[in-house]
């Protein structure tokens, strides 16, 4: 079951976004095998409750920073599937005009900063975004996503420390899926991730990252704190990627039983059961799923029919462009 006291309408909307992520990822995987999606992909299956729980607690003009595994974050923050799919197809209509690709997905107009594929690279940037909000006397907040692997990078430390000492409106979301690529967390990180919050004098909480309502509630609390000017919170969302690290990874370094166990904790299944138990109609849920399918089909069609960029477009957008004084 999932945590109580989240409005049922919201839960349904969260279910919808989780389904959209899952189906998007499944489709992208097939398209990758077909050779239509190029480069590499790091997929989000199994972790949907984190992105959706967090982003549901944000306003549209709040921002997120993301990682090499950004599809889920982007969908949850509201990046249109059309432009995401087009980006993966390397089309000019992509959300980054085919310059970013899977690892740099984003759309600033909905608050999704282009994803940063340097592990922990987003942490110091998020601190700076929070600093901007503070200087602007805005009550915006930034949610900064990163993995368990990121907490051993110097960038995590410096960014978390700066955000803490300056009481910046940042919510640090560690998606602890217990592996960084093939490396299990216990080989690299001597303590629990949330425990590191104490090193910065900020709250650190552990939540069940496969319980979307729990993630949501923890984020609501952290966001409220941030908006009050009391500074950042570190939320460790324990979850699991039920797929490989990147395309082509069979995940042989993980015990089969472990993968199976986590598949049983599937966040979407859990939410579905909970919704049904709470009285949602099967056909309502089926309609949500069907709509997601349609949306993805449309996105694929959009991507397919879009034009690739012109080769010379490669030369655009290097500089912000200067003044002519």
């Amino acid at each position: 079951m999932i945590s109580p006291s989240t409005p049922p309408g919201l839960l349904l909307r969260m279910y919808r976004d989780m389904i959209r992520i899952r189906k998007f990822e499944e489709k992208v995987y097939l398209l990758f095998l077909e050779g239509k999606v190029l480069g590499t992909i790091h997929q989000y299956q199994g972790q949907e409750a984190v992105a959706v729980g967090v982003c549901s607690a944000l306003r549209r003009n709040d921002c997120i920073t993301s990682t090499h595994r950004p599809h889920g974050h982007c969908i949850a923050k509201g990046v249109p599937l059309d432009s995401m799919m087009a980006e993966l197809f390397a089309k000019s209509t992509g959300c980054c005009k085919a310059k970013g690709g899977s690892m740099h997905m984003g759309d600033i107009s909905v608050g999704a900063v282009p994803a940063i594929a340097i592990v922990a690279g987003g942490v110091t940037l998020a601190a700076g975004m929070g600093l901007a909000y503070k200087l602007q006397r805005s009550d915006r907040v930034v949610a900064c996503f990163f993995g368990d692997g990121a907490v051993n990078e110097g960038a995590f430390h410096e960014g978390a420390n700066l955000a803490a000492i300056k009481k910046l409106p940042v919510v640090f979301i560690c998606e602890n899926n217990f592996y960084a690529a093939s490396t299990p967390m216990q080989l690299t990180t001597p303590v629990g991730i949330a425990e590191r919050a104490a090193a910065y004098g900020i709250p650190g909480v552990v939540v069940d990252g496969n319980d979307v309502a729990a993630v949501y509630q923890a984020t609501v609390t952290a966001v409220a704190r941030a908006r009050r000017g009391e500074g950042p919170t570190l939320i460790e969302c324990q979850t699991y990627r039920t797929v490989g690290h990147s395309r082509g990874d069979a995940g042989t370094y993980r015990p089969k039983e472990e993968v199976e166990l986590w598949k049983q904790r599937d966040p979407i299944e859990r939410l579905r059961r909970s919704l049904i138990a709470d009285g949602a109609a099967e056909n309502e849920i089926a309609a949500i799923e069907a709509e997601a399918d349609r949306e993805i089909e449309t996105a694929v069609a959009f991507a397919e029919s879009s034009l690739p960029p012109q080769p010379e477009d490669a030369l655009l957008h290097v500089y912000g462009e200067g003044v002519t004084p």
């Binding site: 980054c96 282009p114 340097i118 690279g121 110091t124 940037l125 998020a126 601190a127 975004m129 602007q136």
Partner: protein, 340 residues
């Protein structure tokens, strides 16, 4: 017209930009502490008194956080002026500089701008290898960054203002031996102040200045080496050798035209830089002239730079490593006489 040193001119530029545009703020180490240093070289002295500690942000010793925060704040519409105490510490934040700031606009398909300024003092001053580098060449190499190298107070003020108003990231390299008012031996004993107009001015990027005209040889040099080249040129003039000294003022964009026009006149090019020879910005400049200026040349292109060693501490060693006025004179003379 008042005369200011580079440190004063930079301070005035920041002050005026902060008054003009409330999005501008400063971020760095030791920059705003009451009764403190005003940064490693006094450039920000007094600004926290005037603008408060919100707009003059003192940070932990965390170069990654300083640069990363500047990137993040710039993306959200602010205009940070960040600084590191010595340019050597840019390498502590190389990821933020090279992988984040430089690439964000591009990766986003042009939708996200990073209008930030990053200031960094360069040059060897008897402090040993980790406080001595002149890493302009590294960053000239990174598409996305513009790179300014002001050698005078007038330029420092005007280039910094242009940098603040640019929509993308701009690095400004400032030379430690040029911050002061001059008259000191290391700087060639020159007056290092400039007359500064009362009115607001910006200096466009990509416009070199011919600091001295001459028909026998073109020298391209920046920062301290520009001053040493001018001193060398003055002395050589007494021998009847006339050297043209060009100060590019920005390495990115680089004013190829002014340089090529000069080489067209002199037929000979000497590049003088303080960074070590291999792979410095002088290599790029030489390569450009060896391509598009090939037919203008009537002699090999020469570069005079620090030797390819880390910077040693001892003055006698450092003075040997960094190009001196004497070595410039010697090489320039030999070039003009056709002896090299």
């Amino acid at each position: 017209m008042k005369r200011l040193s580079i440190a004063e001119a930079l301070r005035e530029a920041m002050r005026e930009e902060m008054l003009r545009d409330e999005r501008v703020f400063l971020i760095g180490e030791d920059i705003g502490i009451p009764q403190g240093f005003g940064g490693a070289f006094t450039v920000t002295l007094g600004l926290s008194d005037e603008f408060g500690h919100e707009r003059v942000v003192d940070t932990p010793i965390s170069e990654k956080a300083i640069v990363g925060a500047a990137v993040g704040a710039a993306m959200m519409g602010m205009r940070p002026i960040a600084d590191v105490q010595y340019s050597d510490f840019l390498f502590c934040a190389a990821d933020e500089i090279i992988n984040q700031a430089a690439k964000m606009t591009y990766m986003s398909g042009g939708t996200v701008k990073v209008p930030m300024v990053l200031r960094a003092p360069v040059g060897a001053t008897n402090r040993g290898a980790q406080h001595a580098q002149s890493p302009e060449g590294f960053f000239m190499h990174v598409p996305g960054w513009k790179v300014a190298v002001p050698a005078t107070a007038y330029d420092a003020k005007g280039l910094l203002k242009t940098a603040v108003r640019d929509e993308g990231p701009v690095l400004i390299f400032e030379h430690k031996r040029l911050y002061g008012k001059g008259g000191r031996k290391e700087a060639g004993g020159l007056d290092l102040t400039s007359g500064i107009p009362d009115e607001d001015y910006c200096i466009p990027f990509g416009q070199a200045v011919v600091r001295r005209e001459g028909a026998d040889l073109t020298i391209v040099a920046t920062l301290l080496m520009m001053h040493r080249s001018l001193a060398a040129a003055d002395l050589l003039a007494q021998e009847g050798i006339n050297i043209e000294v060009i100060d590019p003022r920005t390495l990115v964009p680089f004013d190829n035209e002014t340089m090529l026009a000069s080489v067209a006149k002199t037929g000979k090019l000497l590049i003088v830089e303080e960074d070590n020879l291999t792979g410095g910005w002088g290599a790029e400049v030489a390569a450009r002239v060896a391509d598009s200026g090939f037919d203008l040349l009537d002699a090999p292109i020469k570069r005079l730079a620090s030797y390819d060693v880390p910077m040693p501490f001892a003055p006698v060693l450092e003075n040997f490593v960094v190009p001196s006025v004497d070595r410039i004179i010697e090489l320039a003379r030999a070039m003009v006489k056709g002896k090299v």
